[in-house]
């Protein structure tokens, strides 16, 4: 009961229940101790307390069941709760059991000490004494009654009443004469209360009828004592005399005291065992009830104490599972509640940190994607390698420039790559030697024999270093500068041509005029052989000057900046018109395979016509003399899925172009022919480039020379020409 003060305050209802239990127990214990008014309530109280015990037992049972389930589920805080409950119960049970045991011992001894053999004997003796004293008196009274009966026996029946009255005058008694059937013959009583005589009971009558006179002591309803004597009148067995003598007040009072004391003692002795049982019952109920109440209260309060710990465990479990949004309810104040609050703050911080990390990760990803996009769209090939020369990244331009699928070999060493693409071996060896060398920036121009012909590559390498200055690989940037170099060359040629035309053409006319003047003046004065020399020399001068003039003119033509006016051109029609100018006697035959659904090209028709003429003429001139040439011309959309340009292909069956000239064939004065100016293809390329297209030699064509031209589509229409 005192546990309550040791625990934190519980709810009002629990306190009220507790007080009710204590009150009920107190009443029961009072009822056990004295036979007051409470004695009537005893059974009810025992019942109520037993029910309360059952109720508490149920509550404790439910709590234990709950705890066991929590333990099985390994629920948060259940282990701590179980341990605290066990400790609490042990602490409650141990002293209570000790007190209970010694109380029982004490109770047993003290009840036993009430009874004593001497007192027992004294009580018996006192009763015996009283009985002896009364027996003496009763014997006398019986004799007296028998005497009266004898006297009455001699009287006739009709005089019995009178006779009875006479005899009774001396005695202070109530006398009755009655028959065997209980019929009253005569009655004489001194006491005014008894109107009707009080006849003896059956048991007495049985005795008297057998001839044994009866005498006995009786207690009246008023508490006084009387002696009843019944005898049969000797004369006639059918009539009986009953005499009732009152016992003197003083004697009756004494006898009553002795008797009630004796009875009380006798009752106590008889109830000795039951009394012990009752005390044990009461004490056990008190103990049981208080223990159960204490354990239940322990459950409630411990659960309250453990609650924050349990919440924390749940919370940390949630955090471990990655739920950072978990917030625990803060119920009250205190150290544990402070813990809960701190936990909430912590989870908030963690959630914030996680969000920030997520944001920065997204940012990094975005930047990475951006970088990837930049690298992909870069025209330079970018390769990154680790220190072991394994390919880490490669962009699309690398695939295009080096004609290899680098994406497939990401993570593989360069050796494997060169195994798959032998044409890369020479280049990669060169690059490797750079990268294995001293860690510094380098650059080099390399001529690369690719699958699409000779390429000029400009390679740069930069070693990469980690935070600890260790080498973590290298980045290679490779640019295809083939077209750039070609452009530089043709620009240089144009400049040379322009200057030559200007510087050489100007003195040619005075030279020619001077030579003609010399001949004109000297022809009159010279004769014979001398005249012949003069004629021959001046003629040679004039002829060579003419030749030089035409050469300079052609060169000027190549260098002259032209004005091109582009418009949509139906390429097929244009080709047919040009081919029509070369009838069979010209020594050329044509195979045309023109795509019927061809869109129009954006070009200058005059220049384009010149290009086709030049190419046909080039083929005609390349033919060995006396042999007729055959040329196939085809047109098609360059890429069916992505129509961006028109492809025009012209192939002849001539001797072809030597391999060493293939990559320079479009430069001026690079020619394999005996005829021509050496400028035809150079002009062709200039025109095509001016029109925004391109021209190249098909390196795979073996039957002669094959040129592939690409021309841009007319922007207004993608529809096919009619």
């Amino acid at each position: 009961m005192a546990f309550n003060t040791l625990k934190p305050p519980l709810t009002v209802s629990i306190v009220a229940l507790f007080l009710a239990i204590v009150g009920s127990l107190h009443l029961m214990s009072s009822a056990t101790q004295d036979a007051s008014r409470l004695g009537e309530m005893y059974s009810g109280l025992v019942l109520i307390n037993a029910l309360a015990s059952l109720l508490l037992m149920g509550l404790v049972g439910i709590n234990i069941y709950w705890l066991v389930r929590q333990l099985r589920k390994n629920a948060a805080g259940s282990n701590l709760t179980a341990r605290m409950i066990f400790l609490f119960s042990l602490l409650t049970l141990a002293p209570a059991s000790i007190v209970f045991y010694y109380s029982m011992q004490f109770l047993d001894r003290s009840i036993d000490s009430w009874f004593d053999v001497k007192i027992d004997q004294a009580m018996e003796d006192a009763l015996q004494l009283g009985q002896t004293a009364l027996d003496e008196r009763m014997r006398n009274l019986l004799k007296q009654t028998e005497h009266t009966a004898e006297q009455l026996g001699t009287s006739p029946v009709s005089l019995l009443t009178v006779r009875l009255g006479e005899l009774n005058e001396a005695e202070d008694a109530e006398m009755t004469l009655f028959t065997r059937q209980g019929q009253i013959i005569a009655f004489n009583g001194t006491s005014t209360e008894s109107i009707a005589p009080d006849l003896p009971e059956i048991g007495i009558m049985v005795q008297v009828r057998q001839g044994k006179p009866y005498v006995g002591l009786e207690t009246t309803e008023h508490g006084s004592m009387q002696v009843r004597a019944v005898v049969s009148i000797i004369s006639d067995d059918a009539i009986f005399l009953q005499a009732i003598y009152p016992i003197p007040q003083r004697l009756a009072a004494l006898a009553d005291t002795v008797e009630s004391a004796y009875l009380h003692y006798k009752e106590l002795t008889f109830l000795r065992k039951s009394l012990k049982t009752t005390f044990i019952l009461t004490l056990s109920l008190v103990l049981l009830l208080s223990l159960l109440a204490a354990i239940w209260a322990a459950f409630l309060s411990i659960r309250r104490i453990i609650e924050p710990v349990r919440l924390l465990a749940i919370g940390t479990r949630a955090i471990a599972e990655g739920d950072y949004e978990k917030r625990l309810p803060v119920k009250d104040r205190g150290e544990l509640a402070f813990l809960v609050q701190s936990f909430n703050t912590m989870t908030g911080k963690i959630a914030q940190a996680r969000d920030e990390a997520h944001r920065s990760k997204l940012e990094v990803e975005r930047q990475h994607a951006y970088l990837e996009t930049v690298l992909t769209n870069l025209s330079s090939a970018v390769l990154s390698l680790d220190p072991g020369l394994n390919v880490l990244t490669a962009n699309e331009a690398a695939d295009k420039i080096l004609h290899a699928n680098f994406q497939q070999y990401v993570g593989w060493p360069l050796a494997v790559l060169t195994g798959a693409y032998p044409h890369l071996a020479e280049l990669m060896d060169k690059l490797e030697s750079h990268m294995m060398g001293p860690a510094k920036h380098w650059q080099e121009e390399v001529t690369f024999q690719g699958l699409a012909g000779r390429q000029e590559l400009f390679c740069r390498g930069t070693p990469l270093f980690g935070t600890g200055d260790e080498r973590i690989g290298a980045v290679l940037v490779i640019d295809d500068v083939t077209t750039l170099i070609q452009a530089q060359r043709s620009t240089a040629w144009s400049e040379v041509a322009r200057r030559l035309a200007h510087e050489i053409k100007n003195p040619l006319t005075p030279i020619q005029l001077s030579a003609e003047r010399l001949r004109h003046k000297l022809a009159k004065t010279l004769q014979g052989q001398e005249l012949e020399v003069l004629e021959k020399s001046t003629r040679t001068i004039v002829q060579q000057v003419e030749a030089m003039k035409s050469m300079v003119n052609a060169f000027g033509e190549y260098a002259k900046p032209t004005i091109t006016q582009t418009r949509p051109v139906a390429l097929n029609t244009l080709i047919e018109e040009v081919v029509a100018l070369y009838p069979p006697p010209s020594g050329m035959e044509f195979d045309l395979s023109l795509s019927p659904q061809l869109p129009r090209a954006q070009a200058d028709p005059v220049k384009l016509r010149q290009v086709v003429h030049n190419l046909i003429k080039n083929a005609q001139e390349a033919m060995p003399s006396g042999q007729s040439g055959r040329m196939s011309i085809s047109t098609r959309l360059h890429d069916a899925t992505d129509p961006s340009s028109i492809e025009l292909r012209l192939s002849d069956n001539g001797p072809g172009i030597p391999a060493d000239q293939a990559d320079r064939i479009f430069e001026p004065y690079v020619t394999s022919k005996t005829k021509g100016t050496g400028l035809g293809l150079a002009i062709v390329r200039r025109i095509i480039e001016e029109l925004g297209g391109s021209i190249k030699l098909d390196p795979g064509y073996r039957d002669g020379a094959s040129f592939i031209l690409q021309l841009p589509l007319a922007p207004d229409t993608f529809t096919s020409e009619r």
Partner: protein
């Protein structure tokens, strides 16, 4: 005098001890309804022992008359109770029957004389019979029990669980038509 229909379902009980109501009847005589009954008493040695050690035994005689109601609990019309106490006087070595309602005390030399006297219940007057209607069937029920609550406190708990103290037997019930 109107003889009331009475019924008895006295079956000789196989139990050795107990208080058995063998027969009971209600009769109407001069505007008064009286109960007559025959009761068989077989007290257990434990009860007689307690009596001889000065512990008074209290007997409760209860008569209830109920009217049967078709869809509800039966309505109790009359309840009559009578309390009788048995005592022992060691000085006079006599037994007493005390009627607690009227205060009348009778003394007997032996316990068997006491039970013989109590066996025949005659002319117990039932009050408030005016509320009983004619030609109506009632359920009468007579029960006699040893009152454990009147025993001394230490004995009560024991008496509740000890079959030696359970002297009551199923009450006698019979149908009654005025």
């Amino acid at each position: 005098m109107i003889a009331l229909l009475f019924f008895l379902t006295a079956t000789a009980s196989a139990e050795e001890y107990g208080i058995f109501i063998r027969e009971a009847s209600l009769s109407r005589r001069d505007d008064q309804t009286v109960l007559n009954a025959d009761v068989d008493y077989r007290f257990t040695p434990a009860a007689i022992d307690a009596l001889e050690h000065g512990i008074p035994l209290t007997l409760l005689l209860e008569l209830t008359i109920r009217r049967a109601q078709p869809y509800w609990f039966d309505e109790t019309v009359i309840t009559e109770r009578r309390t009788i106490q048995l005592r022992y006087h060691p000085l006079a070595k006599s037994f007493q029957i005390a009627d607690m309602d009227s205060g009348v005390v009778q003394s007997f030399v032996s316990f068997s004389a006491v039970t013989d006297t109590l066996t025949r219940i005659r002319g117990w007057q039932i009050h408030h019979t005016g509320s009983l209607e004619s030609h109506q069937t009632y359920l009468a029920r007579l029960e006699m029990t040893l009152d454990i609550e009147s025993l001394p406190l230490p004995l009560r708990a024991e008496a509740y669980v000890d079959p030696n103290w359970h002297l009551s037997h199923p009450a006698l019930e019979w149908r009654l038509t005025l």
